[in-house]
Structures are given as structure tokens and as C-alpha cells.
Amino acid sequence: MLSLKKRLIAASVTLAAALSFTGSVSAEEVNVYSARKEALIKPLLDKFSAETGIEVNLVTGDADALISRMNSEGKFSPADVLITTDVGRLVRAKQQGLTRIVVSDTLEQAIPAQLRDDENQWFSLTMRARPIMYSPERVDPEQLSTMEALTDAEWKGRICIRSSSNIYNQSMVAAMIQQTGEEDTLKWANGLVKNFARPPKGGDRDQIKAVVSGQCDIAIANTYYLAGMLNSADDSEKNIASQVKVFWPNQDDRGAHINVSGAALAKHAPNSDNAVKLLEYMVREDAQAWYAKTNHEYPVRDGVEWSETLKQFGTFKAEEIPLHRVGELNAEAVKVMDKAGWK
């Protein structure tokens, strides 16, 4: 028994020693906490490493979990760059004092002012649009106009949209609160829920499928999901996606809703120089083109070519609001949707 105990102690000491080596620091590196999925960021990071010789260490995960992790790691956090897929989390990271100001002409020139923090504590890297998608067989695009009009009685039982737990819906409603006020947004949400074809379930792709299957006539979904389906390896998905069309709402007033993915420099970043190099790399034209081509997101800088699929969806007028408000209004948005019974 004793010898077993001794062996156990010896084993755990060795284990601890082995583990602590994994935390050792090499010369040129940058540590990335990314809410962007590995498949949608790693290839770009690999290119960056190949070009600069800076090694990129990556951990992916839910944005809020990564923020909690940075928060509890505090001063000794190894994180240099935080990448998220929505502006709300960037704002939250800033509010919690986890980010710092970046001074970089490259970033300022590449990214329009409304797409970055007013103190340059975070930057948008790509944009995603959330338009209306409809079945051309059952919906005449002439009937469509604004998001507000979707609460009209003619759409009763014809609308599909995913759960209000989803960040894209939260951002969309938060943006609406910013532009039309909380009271009107609640009225709108109530009206929209009344017109749902079914209780929200599944992701954005599922809403598109539901339109094609006839469960509903219109869906609200992000463009890159539709683009992903159109370029899928599965022919049946391709076939489904080809049966819906994109409609850009609110073109005569505030524009269609967009959300962004972005990045920030960590407050305690141990490799801040390399981190800024990485941020600058990500808005370079070739990197922006990579985003546009592989995941069909809209580049933040002008003059970068869109993917063929995005070109087919057409150009549109996008909302222009101070993005940090979207992050700040996130909790209000969730409450509005709770009150409206939006599951």
C-alpha cells in the first residue's frame, strides 16, 4: 500500500513537471484566444506564421468562456489577441478592462471608423449581413419591404427564425432598440412572434431548409450560411439553398442589419508587438480576400473582391450605427425577446 502511495506521489510530481514545461515561452510567438472556430481561422494564422516566423498558439472556444478565462487569469494571462464573432463580446471585454488601446495607422486606415472602437480598443475584421430569405415560388419580392412589415397579418404562420438564445438575433434586436427604441422593438418582437410558422429551433441553415420544405415562406438568416450551403459538399444542401432568394430589407431607410467579427489586443498581452502585427495582417487585402472567399463574409476594407456567391446576392445598404451600442444593449434585447415569448 505504502509503495503504491509512493509511486503515486512520484507519478504526480513527474506529471506536474511535464505539464509545467508545456507552459514555457519560446522567443517569437503570439497567443490567440479565438471564438472563431478553428477551421475558420487556423489557415490564416498558418499563413501569418509562414510569412513572419511568429508562431501562433491558438485556443478556440465560446467568447464568453474565453473572456471569463482571461478575467480569472488576470495579470498573468498568456492571451495576446481575443477574436470574437460578434461585437457584443468585444464590448464586454472592453467593459471588463481586458483590452487595451492599439496605436496603428494601418488598422485605422483599413477599417472605417464606425467599424472600430472609438478608443481603438477593438476592431472589426469581417461583416456578416442578416437579410430576409424567401421562397420565390410562394413570395413575390414586391410584397417585401422592411423588417417592420414582417409583423403584418399577411405573414401569419409564414416566418421562420432561430432561437432568441442566438447571438445574431440578440445583436439584431439590440440594433433595432438602438434605432427605434425599446417600446417599438417590443411591439415589433410581439408581432413577429405571432407570425412564426413554428417555435424556433435549429440554426440558420435549418430556417433556410424550412422555407424550401414549405414549413414557412420566409426566413431570417445570415448570408454566409446560405453561401456555405450553396458551396456544400452535400448535393442535397446545394439543391435546397438554390431554391431561396435573398431580399435586402429597409433599403429606403436605415439599411439591412449587419453584425461583425472582430479582435482586440489583450490588456496584459505578453507579446503585444506580435499581436499588433497579427491584427494588421488580418486586415491586409489578401487576408480579407481569404475571409471573403472561404467563409463568404464581407470584407471590412474597400476594394477587396467578394466571392462569386456573395456577388450573386447583390449589393445593399447596411445599417450604420455605433457598434458598441449593440454590445451594450444585448441584455435589453434578451429581455425584450423573453417578454415577447420568443423562445
Partner: protein, 557 residues
Amino acid sequence: MSQQFSLTIKSYLRALLDPWQGALLLLGVLLSLPVVVIFTSWIYPQSELWQHLMTTVLQDYVVNSLLLACGVGVGSLLIGTTVAYVISRYDFTGRKLFRWLTLLPLAMPAYIIAYTYTGILDFSGPVQTLLRDTFGWGYGDYTFPDIRSLTGAIIVMSLVLYPYVYMLARTAFSEQPISLVEASQTMGISKFGYLTRVSLPLARPALFTGTALAMMEALADYGTVQYFGVSTFTTGIFRTWFGLGNGIAAAQLSSLLCSFVLIVLLFEKWSRRHIKYYHQGQNHKVQKRKQLSGGWAVFVFILCLLPPLLGFIVPVIQLLYWTWLTLQQNIDVQFIELIINSFGLALSAAIIVVMLALLFSYTRRIKNSKVINSLEQAVSLGYAIPGTVIAVGVLVPLSWADNTANLISESWFDTTVGLIFSGTLFALLLAYSIRFLSVAIHNVEAGLSRITPDMDNAARSLGAPPKRVLKEIHIPLLKTSVLSAALLVFVDVLKELPATLILRPFNFNTLAVRSFELASDERLVDAATPALAIVLVGLLPVILITHAIDKTIKGKS
């Protein structure tokens, strides 16, 4: 009351003074840290937010969580008990195959079976397309039940969780001695009466333990309910934390969920309150299986085939098809690395957790102390806490330890040691230990309860030193339970998602993480390859352990 309280205090103090129990107590405290963190959240009342939750969504969370847990409990109990009883009582064509085939759904993560069945049963899936093509129907001409519902969640989760009941039930049924049947027959009890009045009640502790595990797993599930759009406590916790940005209220919701689990655990304890199911020795002859033929054999064959068919074979075929579509882009060196990472992590966690379980169970058996008893209850709660909540509960104290270590090393040696606890695999292994210790303890205790104290006493009075009692009585008799415990922890870790996502170190990925990332990005087809790999890696121990269980059962007869 106060006297009782001071007694409790005294027994804790006494436990602290005993070095063995004291060490265990400290370990127990470390393992129940997340639970403690969660419950202390009530110090900060969030009345305004609770007002909002109560008027809007709370009722949904409570009702759906309870229905889900009870539904999955009943479903797993029915399937697991039936299959286990049939396999241990009857001989029929295919029985040997079913012994391990029925365990396979264990390797199938609930969220993956949910994805695949949605793909199969959706409007655009093969089933409905076939129906429409055959009968010439269009949308709205027919009603087809929606898999993405509470009922759907109960069904798919029962299909992958019944092995928890089956594993324990099979061992229990197989060990019932022939003398029981003989005694029942002499008392004129019918065959059905034997089943309902003798066999099932005797197996009850095992059945209830399995059911309790399945229910706890259902309560903590996030992936399936989230995908099916069912609002439960787990989805509510995430929504409150992330959507409403209120971590404290999220912790308070978690503590309510913990209380549910406590009820399940107490119910299990209560159900076996007066009973000490010690066996009258293991060398009694076990019952001979009855040979079935004709219609009954076919019926039983189908009965045993259905659960693994629906819980494993059908989803695997769908996954295989999707994998086939994307094979070239998904299999590379990185993918092999993923397999090695997942396997190694699950194996180390299984070993650590089972050792911890043995430590707790044996101390409880030897010392028979209230302190260890309550400690065991506390560490068991981890099973029902969603992985994300555990991860944060682990991060907070570990980061504190890291900060302290770094401050010390900075001021003494002018260098920092980095995040030696929270930034390494240590954090992950600790989180797994907290989350899955309950599974291991339940299995080990189920095994230990079959070794009577009389056996120990007899052996000791015959002069056998404790070491020999351990080697010649306990190890052989416990082997099955320990192996089942290790297997369950292994596959659980292999499938575990949220804690792994948050706590893993840099550049460390697992199959579950890869599969989830792709699936949550709604790339089901791409997610199939890693999902299939999880299932295949999980199969290896399932097969090995079924073999071991069979050997022990055979060895006895």
C-alpha cells in the same frame, strides 16, 4: 438541533485530526469547489433579474427539465432492464452478439445522435422524401412528428443513455443464484411472480443507480436540448450568463439545478433505505439460461436489436455517408493528432477518477464515518452541473493559485512560472474528476455492496492480512464494477464538450471539440468525420470491457 449540530462539528474536527480522513476531506473540498462557488452566489441577490425570469421563462425551464429527466429515466430504465433481463435469462440466436452490441450506444454522444436523426427525419431527409415520393404527397398533405421537440429529446437521449442501466442490471441479474429460483418454485411462485417479486426487487439498487445516472446526464445535457430548441435549465443558464450577461444569476440557476440532482440522489438512497443487498457468497451456482426457439426467439431477437439499431447502427450509417462525402478534406496528420489527444485524455481521466472513487468508497467502508458519507454526496453533485459551469468553478480557484504562484516566483526568483494550474491539462483533469466522479463512485459502490462485511471478517478471523483480503476477495469481486466505472468515465470524457472547450491549453484539440465546432457552425456533413472517430475510439474500451465482464460472469458459473 444545536446538539446535533455540535455533534456534526465534532465529527468533522475528529475527521480532520485523523490524517487519512483529513487528507480525504481536503481532497473532497477541492472536488466540491465549483458546487460551493455556485451556492455562494446567493450572497448577491439578483431580485430584479429573478423577477424578469419568473414572469417570463423560469416555468419553462423547471417543467422542461423535470419532464426531460423523468422521461429519460423511465425510457432508459425500460430499455436497459428489458434487454439486460433477456440477455441474462435466455439463450437465443444472436445473444452473444447482443451482449456487446447493446452497449454500443454508450459511445454515441447525445448531441451527435440528435444531429443525425434531424438529418434523417427532417422534411428534406431521406425518410420524408421517400414517403412523399411513394405516396405523391406534398408539404401539408401529411403530418410527421417533429424530432426536434421535448419528446424527441427524451427518445434520442434514452436511446444513448440506457446502457447505464443495462450494464449494472446485467451484472445484477447474472449474479442472482439458482437457489433463488428453486426457493421461489417450492413456494409456488409463478415465473412472472419470480420476475416481479424476486428478481427485479433484488436488482433494484443496480437499476436505480443506472437510472439516476441517466437522469443526471439528461439534466446536465446542453448540446441536444439547445439544438432541439427545448428550454431547460442548462440552456437557461447559458442564456442568463451570456445573453443577459449576469454570471451571478446564472450561478444561482445552476444551484437550483444542483438541488434537482440532490433530489434524484436522495431518492436513490431512499429507495434502498432498509436494504443491505449483500450477497450470500459468490460461489453459488448462477442460473442456467433458458433456451428459446421459434416465435419467442424471433421476438426476443427483435427486442434486443431495436435499441442498438436505433441508438447506434442507424446514426452510424448516416455518419458514414456524410464522412464519405468529405473524406479527403478532413483526414490529415492533424486528425491523427486529435485522435491521440482524445484517447490519451480520456484514458488518464478514467484512471484518475476511478482511483479517486476507490479511495472514497473504501474509506467510507472502513471508517464508516458520516463525514465521508456527506463528502461523497457533495462530490457526486458535480455530475449534474453543466460542464461550462464546472469549468468556471475550476478556473476561479486555479487562477487564484496561479496568480499566487507567479507573484511568489516573481518576487523571489524574478521570473514567472506561467499558468501551471489553469493553463495546463491539470485544469482539465480536475474538471473531469469533478464532473464524472459520481459515475465512478456509483459503480464502485454497487460492486462493494456485493462484498459482505462477513466476508472480510471471516477472512480476517482466519488470519488473512488485509492485503490478502484485498487481493483474493476484493479485487476479483470488484473487477467488473471498476472496469465499468473506468469505461463510463472514459467514454464520458471522450464525449465531453463544454469544459474541454474552456479549459484546454493552447494548441490542444479533441475530437469532440472539432466535431462540435463544425456542427455548431451548421456544417453537419463536415462534423461527421470527427463524430464517427469519437464513436470508433469509444468502441475499443466498450468491446474490451464487455469481454472482461463476460469473463467474470463465466468464471463464477
